[in-house]
């Protein structure tokens, strides 16, 4: 028996930043009475504090709403929110694979911008039906007609059907929902075929274990079904299914074409991979859904507890976080300066920041993260190849035959007037421009090869600032290439601090060493004694700065014998010091270990 899926619409909303994706999502929840207005927390779908604070989406999320259409039918809409950063390209691709359609939001005052183009391309490559929506038409500077033309010309998307909406006033949202009914295809699939479902995300629940967000392509899932993950082969008993509205609502089953959650009961999040296919071991489907690959960390950094007694707690926290963030990998690392910690693999720098922030907030840990590194292939004179993810593991120079570093194929889409700026930026970051293609009069796609190590530092931020936010960046791993790399060491008060070492291209070593010494001088507070900071390659000192000694640190006044107050001040001072790491005789603040990210480009 074919189950009817004609009332289901699975879609995501994509937009350039600040074009109003989140406000439109909120309006849809409101108009479909999924959330009452008074309960509507701004930007409902971004559920993590960090997401709300930063205005970015990190996790995918799927919310089900019921829409009573003008045609008299009630439709099940599954609104799938996708992450919005280059670090999470793979997650985005999996979320889009769960959809049949995408609402492309364009700001009526700004028009088509770089991310509009890249998001539209992503959606088109995923074969989605696109519903263009022109937002912010309540503003006096809105030019919906011009924007309509831009959508047709720049994106080659028919815009006759584009809906004019205002996320702010709610105007046009009803028309948008009608358009979704008519323009987005209903899912197809066979309810009687063996189960085939896509895992698009997962999160961890202390009581229920891993909860996976899935899209069912064939078959159905109910509580008690035995399930198998095809990539890993692991089998588990389904502990329950349901959907989010936006709170979790249990359902008897997730049927063909539907999106919802599956309670796996699994305690090990590492078993559940985004992009993997769920089936039943007793009656498996022929083949897994395409597009799966294990999310591979690109960036590696040391993460150490300020207080070494927290080491085990950090391990537990990483394990718990991995449930929600299966792309996390780590291995124990020891540092002379920082003690015991982990070398953690991240998808990118934003991912690293977010993980560190979550570890500190959600697990109350005080952490030090060290400068990010990539995975170098080091060939020794003995003929071995070593995987080096941490500068401190680099063999001595005389033992190294050559070092290879990972290169990326990077793609930047940018308006033509910024081409020069992007080429300049690429050159500064050792990039090699290969070619460029005009996608339209208003956008050029530039391709270049660039070392990953250059990209992870400040490339993305620089790209955004030098193109006034117009550029979008996408990249994929290319290959390993030989580079002239050296290890830059930093000495504090004459002692080498392993956690501050950094692998850098020889041509950039001097500039970086100078910049680092200056930055560290700003970050490290004055100590009792003068602290020289030196940058060195091997035994050669190539830069130097000095933290002057503190001359005076005393609260002389002491009115009327109020000693309690004085002691409290001392204790407060001590608290501040506790957050620092003592290295030799020097108190070093946590942010010093990431100083390399803050070195200003001269």
């Amino acid at each position: 028996m074919k189950k009817d899926t004609s009332h289901i619409r699975n879609f995501s909303i994509v937009a350039h930043i600040d074009h109003g994706k989140s406000t439109i999502s909120d309006r849809i929840l409101e108009l479909t009475h999924t959330v009452e207005e008074r309960d509507l927390e701004s930007q409902m779908l971004d559920s993590m504090d960090i997401e709300r604070e930063r205005g970015i989406t990190i996790k995918s999320n799927a919310v089900r709403v019921a829409y009573d259409s003008d045609d008299g039918n009630t439709y099940q809409f599954n609104l799938i929110d996708t992450p919005g950063h280059v670090d999470f390209t793979y997650e985005v691709s999996r979320s889009l694979a769960a959809c049949e359609g995408a609402v492309l939001v364009v700001d009526a005052t700004q028009g088509v911008e770089a991310q509009t183009v890249s998001n539209a391309l992503l959606a088109m490559n995923a074969n989605l039906d696109i519903v263009p929506a022109i937002n912010k038409i309540d503003l006096s500077s809105a030019e919906p007609e011009r924007v309509r033309e831009e959508i047709e010309e720049d994106l080659a998307i028919p815009a006759d059907d584009a809906v004019c909406v205002s996320g702010k006033t709610g105007e046009g949202i009803h028309d948008l929902l009608e358009s979704i009914v008519y323009l987005v295809s209903a899912p197809t699939g066979d309810a009687d075929a063996p189960l085939k479902a896509l895992i698009l995300d997962s999160y961890f629940d202390e009581y229920r274990g891993v909860v996976a967000t899935v899209r069912v392509f064939d078959g159905a899932i109910a509580k008690g079904t035995r399930l198998q993950m095809m990539a890993t082969g692991d089998v588990f008993l389904c502990d329950g299914v349901g959907c989010k509205r936006p709170l979790e609502t249990p359902l008897p089953e997730l049927g063909v074409g539907e999106v919802g959650y599956v309670v796996t009961g699994l305690k090990d999040p590492a078993l559940v991979h985004v992009g993997d296919t769920l089936t039943t071991p007793d009656n498996p489907c022929d083949e897994a859904l395409p597009g799966y690959h294990e999310a591979k960390p690109m960036v590696f950094a040391g993460v150490f507890p300020v207080d070494n007694k927290e080491y085990e707690n950090l391990r537990d926290a990483l394990e718990k976080l991995k449930v929600n963030d299966p792309s996390l990998t780590w291995a124990p690392e020891t540092s002379v300066a920082l003690g015991f910690g982990f070398r953690v693999g991240f998808l990118g720098l934003l991912h690293m920041e977010v993980v560190k922030e979550r570890l500190e907030r959600e697990f109350a840990l005080d952490l030090i993260a060290t400068s990010p590194s990539v995975d170098y292939h080091v060939y020794t004179t003995a003929g071995e190849m070593l995987d080096i993810k941490s500068p401190q593991d680099l063999p001595r120079p005389e033992q190294i035959d050559r070092i290879e570093e990972p290169y990326l194929n990077a793609k930047v889409i940018v308006p033509p007037e910024y081409m020069g700026a992007v080429m300049q930026l690429a050159i500064e970051h050792r990039g090699i421009t290969k070619d460029m293609v005009y996608l339209s009069e208003k956008s050029v796609e530039m391709h270049f090869d660039i070392p990953l190590a250059e990209l992870i530092l400040d490339f993305f931020d620089q790209l955004k600032s030098r193109t006034k936010g117009y550029a979008s960046l996408d990249y994929e791993f290319a290959d390993y290439r030989v580079s002239d790399l050296v290890k830059l060491d930093i000495l504090l008060a004459g002692e080498e601090v392993d956690a501050l070492s950094f692998i850098v291209h020889k041509d950039k070593a001097y500039t970086l060493a100078r910049g680092l010494c200056d930055k560290l001088k700003e970050i490290i507070p004055r100590q009792q004694f003068e602290v020289p900071i030196q940058g060195a390659i091997g035994n050669k000192i190539i830069s130097r700065s000095t933290v002057r000694a503190v001359r005076k640190d005393v609260l002389a006044k002491c009115y009327g014998g109020d000693i309690s107050r004085k002691r409290k001040l001392l204790e407060k001072q001590k608290e501040g010091k506790k957050r620092m790491k003592q290295i030799g005789t020097v108190d070093v603040p946590q942010e010093a270990f990431l100083a390399v990210l803050k070195v200003d480009d001269e």
């Binding site: 109020d562 000693i563 309690s564 001590k574």
Partner: protein, 417 residues
Amino acid sequence: MAARGTDEARWLARLKLPSVAALYLHLPFCARKCAYCDFSSWATKPKDPLMEDYVDALRKHLSEAEAAGLLSGCETVYVGGGTPSFVGAPLARLVQDVRSLLPQVSEVSCEANPDSLSDELLGRLLDAGCTRLSVGVQSLFDAELTELGRIHSANQAQQRLGAAVEAGFDVSADLMCAIPLQTDESWRASLEGVIGCGVGHVSVYPLQIEDETPLGERYRSSEPDFNDPEVQARRMELARDLLTSAGFRRYEVASYAREGKDCRHNQAYWTARPYLGLGTGASSMLTREGYGALRKVCPQLPEPDDGTRRVRLTCIDRRHELAAARSLADLHFDLEFLSEVQAAAEDLMLGMRLVCGVEPGLVDHARTVLGESAVDETLAWCVAQGLVAHKGPRWVPTDRGWLLGNILYGRMWDLAS
């Protein structure tokens, strides 16, 4: 634990004194609040009847404390503020009471500001038995005084200092360094100016920019150059050199005196001698035994925790509440109970503010309660850091120890944890 020697035995006796050695009386009234001041004081109209009521209440509290036996060993009295001189005649009555209730007291200090220290008040205070005046001068430059929000002129300050000396008081001048507009030269001139007035005692403080003061608002998080630690250090050293060569001797981190002119009252704070503070915001330090005596007249006070050796109290009643409090039993306090361990660490910390440093009896006692190795290691660390020197039987702070006092004090207090 048994005392190990006579030094320690002598020190131990101090920790159990049933009465206080010093009395502090707080008058929280000012003509105007200075721009840097975050202390417990409020601008008040001249002749505001609140001042009279408040002083009358203090006088009652004073006689109650005396009757309870808390003041039988009291040697010094200090009336601080606020601006006690601003209160006028009631201040003199308060001093008179002190004198008649506590005949054994040999030092009675009052704080004063130049603008309210009239000839008439000088006469009244002298008659009442006040022996010492501590005058808030801060600077002898009008522009600098204006920046600080002071309401007197430099001339007025010099003139009143001279008059107080002339009248026969022991006079101290408070000066402030690292303030807006100040230069090394103007600082030197202010120091020379007050010395020229004949004072026997000078206190020097670097300006501390506190939050929630007009100066704090103005310079919030901007770390102004005039208050740079480097400038503070230089000015404190300049004061040391200038005052020392003028015949003053430093006896505490911020205090200099001619021979025999040390303020004995303030020294009680640094040498574990118990003191009683009366008035809004006033602080007391009592032994467990002294606290027991206070509880007899203050039944609202809780029983001390087990192991309490010392109690620190701060009166939290506001001015109107205090003025209306007919007896000590009506007052409210913030309390801190310190164990023997905490008291010992605190005494080491406080002793390090003094030129004469920490005496052997205290070090022996600290070794007994804090552990020999902990104390010795800490002292050795401080010596290695150049903060402390071992001079004869005493441990004394070095010049470096003065300037980096917070590091030194912090290290001593850490012995408690």
